[in-house]
Subunit: 261 residues, 2 copies
């Protein structure tokens, strides 16, 4: 306890009195496709901070992913909410979201390339420690960050929140990134792929953790999903908080050099 408090007093002393969260829309390209992401960071530091990429759900880059990026900034990370689909592209309904995401689910090379373009933008944000990068993603975005790990991206860790786990391009070797899967135990979209994913992780001796939240279904971190679990997508407040804390602890450990090197 004493060590813990001492470390935190040091941390408190290192913080400026009026730390501010700053945000910035960032326009960039992947090939000819114009994209617009969103950076968020706590301003006023002289040192560098770990950077985390945030990959949106199947609807596209929007308020949800930006809110998560700001939450990460408040925890002391510099975050970049990537845009996978194109500037201003945001699905108006599930049908459109399915089409947009479907193109990437069917083309994992494109999914990886588009996410890596976002990672380059994260690297350019203020205060980013280039040696301490990670990625998180939600649903479609969870799948995307797992693809980054499979691609051998230079990340310390990736965390998937209710992402689809399987891939037609499974990992061929141990990923550089430690992998944290945050899964709703009753997520019927994801459950069929769980055994195959675990087998994939075992084969390549990945550094992986898999957390199941009892009673949680797909989209358990998304308040807008409502609370009717019978629909297969629903918010679960406890699972949301617990998975966020698990993600935070995961990156704190990875970035402090404790694990996963």
């Amino acid at each position: 306890m004493k060590y813990f408090i001492s470390a935190l007093l040091l941390l408190a002393a290192a913080l400026p009195a009026n730390a501010l969260i700053k945000t910035r829309a960032v326009e960039y390209k992947d090939g000819d496709v114009v994209l617009q992401g969103w950076g968020a960071w706590e301003d006023g530091f002289k040192d560098s901070r770990p950077g985390i990429l945030v990959v949106h759900e199947w609807t596209g880059h929007g308020p949800y992913a930006r809110r998560r990026a700001e939450q990460l900034a408040k925890l002391g990370f510099t975050a970049f909410a990537v845009d996978m689909y194109g500037k201003g592209v945001y699905a108006k309904d599930h049908e459109e979201a399915g089409k947009l995401a479907g193109a990437f689910f069917a083309d994992r090379a494109m999914m990886r390339k588009r996410a890596l373009a976002g990672l380059e933008q994260l690297r350019k944000l203020p205060f980013v420690d280039q040696s301490k990068l990670g990625a998180i993603g939600y649903c479609f975005g969870g799948t995307t960050v797992l693809e980054l790990a499979r691609a051998g991206a230079d990340l310390k860790g990736v965390a998937s929140f209710h992402g689809i786990l399987t891939s037609p391009m499974p990992a061929a070797e141990r990923p550089k990134a430690a992998i944290l899967v945050l899964h709703g135990a009753d997520d019927a979209n994801v459950n069929p792929g769980v055994p195959g994913f675990i087998e994939e992780m075992r084969k390549v001796n990945a550094d992986w953790q898999f957390v199941q939240y009892g009673g949680a279904v797909h989209s358990f971190t998304v308040p807008e999903a409502g609370t009717d679990t019978a629909k297969g997508m629903a918010y679960n407040k406890e699972a949301d908080k617990r998975s966020w804390e698990a993600m935070h602890s995961f990156f704190d450990s990875l970035f402090s050099g404790g694990f996963g090197k």
Copy 2:
């Protein structure tokens, strides 16, 4: 971040400058059986602290469980390392451990009663908030804390580290305790019981979380188990640290009133 730091500064201010961990051997009885457990707490508080019961591995009450109780005391909990077998009973080898534990595995009513006798001793230690109690256990002890949950014990939460999960007396209703299972993904002792356990949790709508650590086998928190996973029991430093942090976060959330009420 600012809120977090403020909360911690408050906490730091509430701590005495020279907080000390105190320990005490406690002799007590369950029926005619004389038992000796071990209390550990941080001294010098005027307020009360959450209490956590620690249930030992199959070898019996010994240095390992006492060390975990002291670790909990350093985190600010008052802890009691229970004695399930009898004062001074400690297995000299796996054969003896198997016999000692086997009697309890075969008699879950006795397992529950013996653990509840320890819980009464926890309640009598200094600074214990009677409304904020939990239990953790290792291997045999993990099974024991799950039995406490099934028995409806008045605990906020229980955490099992590589415990055997199944029971001939499954929960008949939703346990009062939130349940956290910390499991080695390659634990051949525990794996066969995983699907049945999850089904049991679903049936009674328990508040449950299940964490799998890739590459970890049985006894992954026990340094004395060595590192040869081929033996089926081995220490895994990352899984040890990660599971300890998960347990800490679990109880912090439960005791702060955030979840599980």
